[in-house]
């Protein structure tokens, strides 16, 4: 992407404003995940409540960003890198908001789990949370810096997330089979793990869109492109 300014400076200001809103949103959902996990691990229901309350702001930002994108599309009829940036914004805002929702789901599970005595610690859950947070942070950094290799790393990490999730699944299943009194709590933890894994998927979506934004090539679902009659090439 060129660092050159637009001839119309207000266009630049509007694009910057959109970028800043996305970063604010990204920062908020990142915090939500971290706080929700602390609420769970430190058995602190106040923290979990905070996450649930903070989600309202995330939703408001989502609406704001949608509106900013629509305004730019209709008023500027953007092309090339601007078009790719704005269409990327429109798509990743959905993923970011979903990540926020999943953090809220984790917080709700934490509230529930904090009512009962702790289950024996499940180590991989902390690891999974760390990795998923790393994915979200990586996807956002890749977006800010237009960093394709960072985005590729996020996509790669998703395999690790999936295998950690499967380990956890087996571990929690074993706990349930061991003692039926574990079922409720283990099931809740399994939900937390699933939420984390889903959240990683959304971070992966963001990373894929960042690659599109920078390179103009769609890396999602390889081989699914419909080959249309190509316009003439010189």
């Amino acid at each position: 992407m060129t660092m050159k300014a637009h001839t119309d400076k207000t266009y630049d200001a509007q694009l910057d404003d959109l970028r800043n809103k996305l970063l604010t949103l990204g920062g908020k959902v990142e915090t939500e995940i971290a706080v929700a996990m602390r609420g769970l691990q430190e058995r602190d229901s106040k923290l979990a409540e905070q996450v649930i309350a903070a989600d309202r702001e995330v939703n408001r930002l989502e609406v704001d960003i949608d509106e900013a994108c629509r305004r730019l599309l209709v008023l500027r009829q953007p092309a090339a890198s601007d078009l790719r940036f704005i269409t990327t914004a429109l798509k990743i805002v959905v993923d970011l908001e979903r990540i926020g929702d999943l953090a809220v789901n984790i917080a709700e599970r934490a509230l529930d789990l904090n009512q009962s005595p702790p289950l024996k610690p499940v180590h991989d859950l902390g690891k999974l949370a760390e990795l998923c947070q790393k994915q979200v942070r990586g996807a956002l950094d890749a977006f800010v810096d237009g960093d394709v290799s960072m985005a590729e790393q996020v996509i790669k990490d998703d395999d690790l997330v999936d295998s950690l999730y499967h380990n956890l699944f087996n571990e929690l299943l074993a706990l349930m089979m061991e003692d039926s009194r574990n079922i409720r709590r283990a099931n809740s933890l399994l939900f937390v793990a699933k939420h984390l894994e889903r959240l990683g998927d959304h971070a992966t979506n963001v990373a894929e869109m960042v690659i599109y934004m920078v390179r103009g090539t769609d890396v999602r679902h390889p081989g699914s492109r419909t080959s249309k009659s190509a316009p003439p090439t010189p």
Partner: protein, 257 residues
């Protein structure tokens, strides 16, 4: 006549074209080709050579005093400057529509369209040909009851479509359009654009436009000119979503000047 070795389906082939107005070079080593039945849009800032390029395709450039050119332009594989090429006959095959509608002011609507037929000594049923051309130009329904009215009684958009009908009447194979819709309102513009989509079935079209959305809408390929140079030429969708040249990127995103 010299033939150029080229694949079938190429209607216009430009090779190493340089053009000057006295001391000023307007085009620098431009090469590009336009396949048959496609629309090429030419974009670029004022003075980049867009119009000059188009005027070299029907040998109108050389009508300007002091204008010269080197390089070759082929239409259907035939060199436009080969011996024996009659520029008048060429301009019959390669029609042109300009920015400002320029109907013959003293003639009626009918006479405007028939004028080209008469001038070119084209026989046959003129009445029928006039109607066909006016229909092709999507003007027939609006003027069929007043064909004898002055061409100047039409609105700007109608006049422009009249000029297109006049150009179509003599059966061109190529239509050059130099900013054909820049003086028109959005509805008239949409009509011209729809017309371009339809004409593409029968003709090869080169359109110069300052309106990038228009270029994106009507063309198959887009060429970006800057300071007389062809900077980038490619499929329109790619030029507007993911251009390869930074200068194209700057121009289509509005980062010039």
């Amino acid at each position: 006549m010299s033939e150029s070795a080229q694949p079938d389906g190429i209607k216009i082939d430009v090779k190493n074209l340089d053009a000057w107005f006295r001391g000023t070079q307007a085009l620098r080593n431009v090469s590009l080709s336009v396949p048959k039945n496609t629309v090429l849009a030419i974009i670029g800032p004022s003075g980049c050579g867009k119009s000059t390029f188009v005027r070299c395709i029907n040998r109108m450039h050389e009508l300007v005093p002091g204008a010269t050119q080197t390089g070759k332009v082929f239409v259907d594989g035939k060199d436009l400057h080969a011996r024996g090429v009659d520029p008048v006959d060429l301009r019959r095959r390669v029609g042109m529509v300009f920015q400002r509608p320029n109907p013959f002011p003293t003639m009626s609507i009918y006479e405007n369209v028939a004028a080209g037929l008469k001038l070119n000594g084209i026989g046959g049923d003129h009445k029928q040909l006039v109607e066909k051309s006016l229909r092709q130009a999507a003007l027939w329904d609006e003027v069929k009851d007043r064909l004898q009215s002055s061409a100047l009684s039409l609105s700007g958009g109608q006049q422009q479509r009249l000029c297109i009908a006049r150009a179509l009447a003599i059966g061109p194979e190529v239509l050059l359009m130099d900013e054909p819709a820049s003086a028109l309102d959005p509805i008239a513009t949409a009509k011209i654009e729809e017309l371009i989509h339809e004409l593409r079935e029968a003709l090869t079209i080169v359109i110069v436009t300052h309106n990038m959305q228009q270029a994106a809408r009507v063309s198959d390929s887009t060429a970006f000119f800057y300071l007389g140079e062809l900077i980038e030429h490619g499929p329109t969708e790619r030029i507007f979503t993911n251009p390869r040249e930074p200068r194209t990127e700057d121009y289509v995103t509005g980062k010039f000047g």
